[in-house]
């Protein structure tokens, strides 16, 4: 890298750039370029209608035929283009103008083999009908962290207050006390119940052995307090995200978590418990499997979305890292400004020219106020911006997990199909076995197996279809939430920056006459 530089030759005495140093402009005249970022053209409406939802706004008609009583998700707000071989892929040329809400008719029958989740799956429209217009109105607050117990068995208890007007809850306002492992326990149950069928279950806040240990041993310092606050805020966001999900909200464990005064202790959440180790083993196995499954992706939507989430993941992680840096440097700036303020005050004290001495003291005061400003801004940087990014990095991991489950479901289906094929081959080969008395028995046996496998193959296909459908809905909902979240936070963050600048102006405007008064 050539570091030698010959700066532009400077003109004669009266015109040197150095005079310009006084107003600070000289240095940067040549290097300032306003960044004209190209105005992005609005994204082209893609051909797959599923995309149309998020970018174009108008809701699309649910064109699919609804006489299937097992179609659990005929919701008016979501359009689903089904790509299963039983239905023709429906491609529209663009956003359809007409929006006709479709009211589902059937009450849903629990599907075999999918666990208890379906019993509580009701479409949003149905709920609206039953509870006469119960829109999402819920607010959860996590507060009052209190240390319970002593030593290494101590833990932090949090107050969880739920305020809601929704009728599915027994009371308008409920308060319970919960500890961190309760939250983890809730997440664990929801994940085991919903993740593998395609629901994006919001991840719980992360464990921190170091942080908790400090709290347990009673370290009453700033970093412990910060840790507790960080966790409290994360728990609150976690609960809010969970209840915003229309399916998870109805889960009995969620309701129990929010309403019942006592909860069975969730021991399987401990990192080093048997369950914890099992989880780690499973995670490793999953990673290996992911590498070996080569899916025949017939649906471009999934491929596209998968790639999009990969990109988003990468960029969000990068952004998160940069914002964390910023928080760190701003905290540093605050500390260094405070330090400078003290130093300036001392300088002012020793200055023997009265007016200058006073001005230096004023400068010290201004810098002290500014250091507080930097601290507040760092706080906003963190809680508004950085934590949101962290949450989304974790959420996207959950999204990717759901995509992986779909792959696994497909894989299972394919495997079953292969097995069926093998059995059929074996059946035809049986004809050439040379033990006629055993032939009938063998033929009956194999016929039974084949029947069973045929059923399984059908089930596998249905499972795959279902998870694909669910994921499309989930992704659409997720994207909506994401857009909303980011818009809200960005605006809040910019407002915090505005406030900081306004304060700065106030402080310097107060200082200027003091500086001018030096005589």
């Amino acid at each position: 890298m050539a570091a030698e530089m010959e700066p532009p030759p400077l003109g004669d005495a009266g015109q040197t750039d150095f005079r310009e140093i006084e107003d600070g402009e000289g240095f940067f005249v040549s290097t300032v370029t306003t960044l004209e970022s190209p105005e992005p053209s609005s994204p082209d409406p893609p051909s797959m209608p599923a995309e149309g939802i998020s970018t174009n706004g108008p809701k699309q008609e649910d064109i699919s035929l609804d006489d299937d009583p097992e179609d659990l998700f005929a919701e008016a707000t979501e359009e689903v283009s089904l790509d299963s071989p039983e239905r023709e892929p429906i491609l529209s040329d663009g956003p359809s103008p007409a929006i006709t809400p479709v009211t589902p008719t059937a009450m849903l029958t629990p599907r075999m083999g999918l666990g208890t989740a379906e019993m509580f799956e009701r479409s949003l429209d149905e709920i609206e009908e039953d509870d006469s217009g119960d829109t999402f109105d819920m607010h959860i607050a996590v507060s009052d962290p209190e240390k319970v117990g002593d030593g290494m068995n101590a833990y932090m208890g949090y107050k969880v207050t739920t305020k809601t007007s929704m009728t599915i809850f027994s009371k308008n306002e409920t308060t319970v006390r919960r500890r961190f492992s309760d939250f983890l326990g809730l997440h664990s149950k929801l994940a085991s119940r919903y993740l593998h069928i395609g629901y994006i279950v919001p991840p719980a806040p992360e464990k921190s052995i170091v942080g908790m240990t400090k709290v347990k041993v009673g370290k009453e310092d700033l970093s412990s307090a910060e840790f507790v606050e960080k966790r409290r805020s994360a728990l609150e966001r976690y609960l809010m995200r969970t209840v915003k999900h229309p399916i998870l909200l109805k889960d009995p464990d969620v309701m129990m978590f929010l309403e019942s005064s006592e909860l069975p202790r969730a021991v399987s959440t401990q990192a080093l418990s048997g369950a914890g180790i099992l989880r780690m083993v499973n995670k490793a196995a999953d990673a290996v499997n992911k590498m070996t499954i080569k899916m025949n992706e017939s649906d471009a939507w999934f491929e596209e979305k998968h790639q999009q989430f990969e990109n988003l993941d990468l960029q969000l992680r990068k952004l998160h890292a940069s914002v964390e840096c910023l928080v760190c440097h701003r905290k540093e700036l605050s500390v260094n400004t405070a330090s400078f303020a003290k130093s300036a005050a001392m300088l002012g004290n020793s200055e023997d020219h009265t007016a200058l001495s006073r001005a230096l003291s004023q400068l010290a005061e201004v810098e002290e106020k500014i250091d507080q400003l930097h601290q507040d801004q760092a706080y906003a940087d963190f809680y508004l911006f950085s934590e949101l990014l962290g949450d989304y990095v974790r959420l996207i991991t959950a999204v990717k997990g759901v995509f992986d489950h779909r792959m696994k479901t497909w894989s299972k289906w394919q495997d079953t199909q292969l097995l069926l094929q093998k059995k059929r081959e074996a059946e035809s080969k049986l004809q050439f076995a040379n033990k006629p008395d055993k032939l009938q028995q063998a033929q009956d046996e194999i016929k039974e197996e084949i029947e069973e496998l045929e059923g399984k193959v059908q089930q596998g296909e249905k499972d795959f279809e279902l998870i694909s459908k669910t994921i499309r809905k989930e992704v659409s909902r997720f994207e909506k939430e994401r857009v909303k979240d980011f818009k809200v936070v960005i605006i809040k963050y910019l407002e915090s920056l505005v406030q900081t600048q306004q304060q700065l102006i106030k402080y310097w405007e107060a200082f200027l006459p003091e500086a001018k008064a030096i005589a």
């Binding site: 890298m1 006084e22 988003l312 330090s339 130093s343 023997d352």
Partner: protein
């Protein structure tokens, strides 16, 4: 930095400036340009090329000249130091593969701007030294100074070799031990007694403030760099996103590109108006302390000479010699005291004026930048809020 040049009258009889400068490998070549109506010079206007070592030579010649013991010798300019900047440019070159082309170009531009800023600063500091000398009623007449200005060949001033550097080091050690001794002697003159106390404390406080302001400004620069990276990533996010929020990302990226330039300028202005000011007065207050030390030394010599004279008279031996010696010491001491008093008064005047100018300009610039930032933020918010 012309901001500390406040009280130097633009005197038509002798005007000095640095009209050009060139950076080569590890040296900087300054073109010193002089305009003068004094008869001492062959021409009215002329230029020579000088390097840092020659400035140091000139400064040291002042310090070593007994005639100038009663003056505050303008502090020598600091050595041009591009090491940090060069290192950064090198690291950037090494890391070229790990960042996008836009990021690389951006960072390169910034580092080059930083290099240029350091360059301009070092030129300014060398210039200030020369202007101070040219403005001083006595120093401006110095022969070495004229040679420095006019002699258009290399002055062949070699940097101090190891032995000389060691000698300097010990001289300083002795001086500071001595300084303590001398400082302990209470001065009869109230003015000087006050100045001594004042300067000792002031110098330490300025040193502390200078260090702390540097650290503060460095944090500021780091934060501005972070905002730069954030802007880049937001831009990428905006171009990749197919939802509504892409507009937000792109707009905010644009906003941050602009605000971080302003933040960088805030840091640079604070550097100029505050950090450089403090650094300069750190050096000047040291020069003032040196003056007081020399005077103190002369006082001690004078008092010793008095004692010697008393002893000589008592023994009635070498009285004449003792008398002459005592007279010499007395004259030296009185000469230094007289000029020192004026120098210290001038120092205070210069200091107050420089601080006033810089603090006012600092406040004005901070306001200007904060208002600029605010306007950008509010306009962006307006657009974004209108969109939701």
């Amino acid at each position: 930095v012309s901001s500390v040049n406040v009280d130097l009258q633009t005197d038509a009889t002798l005007q000095v400036d640095i009209s050009d400068a060139l950076s080569e490998r590890d040296k900087v070549k300054f073109t010193v340009h002089t305009k003068s109506t004094l008869p001492n010079f062959k021409q009215n206007e002329f230029s020579v090329v000088r390097q840092h070592e020659e400035f140091i030579w000139l400064h040291d010649s002042f310090v070593e000249n007994e005639e100038y013991a009663g003056y505050i010798i303008p502090p020598a300019p600091p050595r041009p130091d591009f090491d940090a900047s060069r290192e950064k440019l090198q690291k950037l070159g090494e890391g070229e593969g790990s960042m996008t082309k836009e990021e690389f170009t951006k960072m390169k531009q910034e580092l080059e701007a930083e290099y240029l800023a350091i360059f301009k600063k070092t030129v300014a500091m060398h210039e200030v030294f020369l202007c101070r000398v040219a403005a001083h009623p006595v120093l401006r007449k110095d022969l070495n100074f004229h040679v420095f200005l006019e002699y258009n060949q290399d002055l062949s001033v070699r940097g101090k070799n190891k032995r000389e550097k060691m000698e300097d080091f010990f001289k300083n050690v002795v001086k500071s031990a001595d300084g303590v001794l001398v400082a302990g002697v209470k001065d009869v003159d109230d003015f000087f007694e006050h100045e001594k106390t004042f300067l000792l404390e002031y110098h330490n406080r300025v040193k502390d403030a200078s260090a702390k302001s540097d650290r503060m400004i460095r944090s500021h620069k780091s934060a501005a760099d972070d905002i730069n990276r954030i802007a880049s990533t937001l831009y990428t996010l905006g171009t990749q996103d197919s939802t509504d929020v892409c507009k937000f990302f792109l707009k905010v990226s644009e906003l941050f590109e602009k605000t971080r330039k302003i933040e960088a300028r805030v840091a640079a202005d604070e550097d100029l108006k505050l950090a450089d000011l403090l650094k300069y007065y750190l050096r000047e207050s040291q020069a003032a302390k040196d003056l007081l030390y020399r005077r103190g030394r002369a006082l001690v010599d004078y008092e010793n000479a008095n004692k010697a004279l008393d002893r000589a008279r008592a023994k009635n031996k070498d009285v004449l010699q003792a008398e002459t010696s005592q007279q010499v010491c007395c004259q030296k001491f009185e000469k230094i005291s007289e000029s020192a008093k004026q120098e210290l008064i001038d120092f205070k005047t210069r200091r107050v004026a420089a601080f006033r100018k810089n603090l006012v300009e600092l406040a004005e610039l901070e306001l200007k930048h904060a208002k600029g930032n605010l306007q950008l933020l509010q306009s962006c918010l307006g657009v974004l809020k209108g969109d939701t």
